[in-house]
């Protein structure tokens, strides 16, 4: 059936495009851009497709981010590695942290050589620990083009292609500004589609709907650490700009202007969540002195745009805040990597950036963006190089007649029930956004939520193919439903509190559960235990 559907898909595309490539990269954020340049540097043909636009899409392009850039001084490197091990629940892998530090140092120095205008400090030396997303990603797009990569913007991937043996052999999707289809026959595919933030309205994150998890799960790929998926960022309740770091300088108050005891941006974030579940929370950044205010303005111009336009002085006037779910964009769950090449558990399929699990360097917790950006540039670089290597050994691309499409939900023509993406999205959001379910987890809450999500998934599976104009949103809503189910199945299997995963009914960290939870499947989701790496740090009792 799926072979027939591929033929139909191809023959129905009036003026579609088809490419044969060595490597197809899905996603044009930092991980995808590094993957594409790295793959192309080996000489093969590389195609990069982005749902939106390579250079402006994703969590990085519209934000400012730190980078885990540590000079190769053994003491400083060790301190950098050790500083986050407890926070992450001792699930990291020290060898991976070391190689990400090495690779990030090389990649950031390349950015400097390519002309990224890093600021100078007072001695006139360059400070390379922060990047402005708009500049960084515009530069990366130029490098991707210069490397000879074919970029297709506004070309969402809908599903992967495999050969008869199940080896990944490309993908197909639509060109939404042309109204036709694309097919890329590729010897290897890199999934760099980002994480899933459930369209909660965080800056630049609504494009991140877990599309890569769904596509990869449809060919049998495993995920890891999906319980570490409940990161929430502080944000003005009317706006999109999430920059939790700046709330280190905040005082949080109730409506009546009295201070909320224990509320804060770091350890006091759960107090914020508990308060927000019942009533509005306000804040003022009144702990920032004038010098700090000036640095903040010069460093993060986007932070002030909503305030300036709403006529609010955030240092002197109160404004309402909320917590926006950042899911696995800041959480660390994602596709499981089987080795140092960033291969997934499926032949021909590689993963990078937030689409891949970041447990290897972060364990179960990520505080700031610096590890995330380091991970994107490192895993992207490795995944692209390995995919190009794999392609060289894989021989010629397969004839199209031998390929099949792997997608199911919202694509398969098995039924004709209605499929309303907006309604599905709202139903998924009702399970993952509430703090009572997702921030403060209990077996009871997770089980009840999973019952509803499983029912929703069954309804999606019974629904027919979506009309062409809705198919992207239909697949996005299905990907969010699938992601939520991976999250909560995993969360239910971790009967302890570790990293960002907080179980109200198991408030302590349990040394016997210092392992990874690997999830897979779609209609039935399986969760298995994978021992922590032999190179993981020793767990020190809290």
């Amino acid at each position: 059936m799926s072979v027939t559907r591929l033929r139909e898909a191809v023959s129905s595309s009036a003026a579609g495009v088809e490419h044969d490539a060595d490597v197809l990269v899905i996603g044009g954020g930092p991980a995808g851009a590094w993957a594409a340049t790295s793959a192309a540097s080996q000489g093969g043909k590389v195609v990069l497709v982005d749902k939106g636009c390579c250079g402006t899409s994703g969590a990085t392009a519209s934000a400012g981010t730190g980078v885990w850039y540590v000079p190769p001084d053994p003491a400083r490197r060790l301190a950098a590695i050790e500083s986050r091990e407890k926070l992450g629940g001792y699930l990291q892998d020290r060898a991976w942290m070391q190689r990400v530090l090495d690779r990030t140092y090389e990649s950031v120095n390349l950015l400097a050589a390519w002309g990224y205008p890093f600021p100078h400090d007072d001695d006139g030396s360059e400070r390379r620990t922060n990047l402005w997303g708009p500049d960084y990603m515009r530069l990366m797009r130029r490098r991707v083009r210069k490397a000879g990569v074919t970029i297709m913007d506004h070309s969402p991937a809908l599903e992967l292609l495999t050969d008869a043996a199940g080896v990944v052999a490309g993908a197909r999707g639509i060109r939404r500004q042309h109204g036709d289809d694309w097919i890329v026959n590729a010897r290897a595919v890199v999934v760099a589609t980002g994480g899933c933030a459930f369209q909660s309205g965080g800056l630049g994150c609504n494009v991140l709907t877990g599309d890569g998890y769904l596509m990869a799960a449809e060919v049998g790929a495993e995920l890891s650490g999906m319980e570490f998926s409940n990161a929430y960022a502080i944000c003005p309740s009317f706006a999109s700009v999430t920059k939790t770091r700046f709330y280190s300088w905040a005082t949080f108050t109730y409506q009546d202007e009295t201070q909320i005891p224990g509320a804060g941006s770091h350890h006091g974030r759960s107090v914020l969540a508990r308060t927000l579940a019942a009533q509005p929370v306000y804040c003022r950044l009144d702990k920032a002195d004038e010098a700090t205010q000036a640095i903040m303005r010069a460093s993060q111009p986007n932070f002030f745009v909503p305030f300036d336009r709403a006529g609010i002085d955030p240092f002197r006037q109160r404004f309402p805040v909320t917590l926006r779910l950042e899911g696995t964009v800041r959480g660390t769950g994602g596709l499981r990597l089987t080795d140092e090449t960033c291969a997934t558990s499926v032949a021909g399929l590689y993963a990078a950036g937030d689409a891949a699990t970041r447990e290897l360097i972060c364990g179960g917790f990520t505080g700031g963006g610096s590890h995330n950006s380091a991970w994107a540039m490192s895993s992207g670089y490795w995944a692209g190089a390995a995919a190009a290597d794999y392609a060289r050994q894989a021989g010629p691309t397969r004839a199209r007649r031998d390929l099949r499409v792997a997608g199911g939900v919202a694509l398969a023509a098995s039924n004709t029930a209605e499929f309303d993406p907006a309604q599905i999205t709202r139903a998924v959001q009702a399970e993952v956004l509430p703090y009572q379910i997702n921030y403060f987890r209990t077996a009871e809450g997770l089980t009840a939520s999973l019952d509803r999500l499983d029912w929703l998934w069954a309804a999606l599976r019974a629904a027919g193919p979506s009309a062409a104009e809705h198919v992207v949103k239909a697949r996005e809503s299905a990907a969010m439903a699938a992601t939520a189910r991976f999250m909560y199945r995993s969360a239910l299997a971790r009967n302890e509190t570790r990293g960002m995963h907080k179980r109200e009914d198991h408030p302590r960290q349990d040394a016997a559960q210092r392992h990874h939870l690997v999830s897979s499947g779609l209609d039935e989701i399986h969760v298995r235990v994978q021992p922590a790496s032999a190179r993981a740090p020793q767990e020190i009792a809290a």
């Binding site: 749902k51 939106g52 636009c53 250079g55 402006t56 899409s57 994703g58 392009a61 519209s62 400012g64 730190g66 205008p117 890093f118 600021p119 100078h120 400090d121 400070r127 620990t129 922060n130 402005w132 708009p134 500049d135 515009r138 913007d153 506004h154 939404r176 500004q177 309205g201 800056l203 630049g204 994150c205 609504n206 494009v207 003005p236 009317f238 706006a239 999109s240 770091r245 280190s248 300088w249 804060g264 770091h266 702990k287 700090t292 640095i295 903040m296 010069a298 460093s299 993060q300 111009p301 986007n302 002030f304 745009v305 909503p306 305030f307 300036d308 336009r309 709403a310």
Partner: protein, 107 residues
């Protein structure tokens, strides 16, 4: 959300149509692009950064439509204000003014 494409300022380069990650705009032949799918706007402000003539205005509100008036925005200095602040260094321009490395958290 995106609230304004200034007919007067727009030079119909359609850059916003290309760079919007959410595909909010539709190009129109011989006319400024239209805001075709406003409800999809994620308020990321990228279109403003890429607009060469500061013809676009993204209101800060993510959930509610804001009514805007072009003349009032111009008078308040808000049209193009994000691009003016220095974020997105023009190619070949001097160094970024990013001072993040100087920030020390109070806690």
């Amino acid at each position: 959300m995106i609230e304004l494409v200034s007919e007067e300022r727009c030079i119909t380069c359609n850059k916003c149509v290309q760079v919007c990650p959410m595909n909010v705009f539709d190009a129109v032949e011989d006319a400024p692009p239209v805001i075709a799918r406003k409800q999809d706007c994620q308020t990321c402000f990228m279109c403003e950064l890429y607009c060469p003539t500061d013809a676009l205005y993204v209101a800060p509100q993510v959930d509610t439509a804001a009514s805007v008036d072009e003349l009032t925005l111009v008078a308040a200095g808000l049209l193009g204000s994000y691009r003016l602040r220095g974020w997105a260094v023009p190619p070949g321009a001097p160094r970024s003014t990013d001072q993040s490395f100087r920030l020390r958290s109070p806690e």
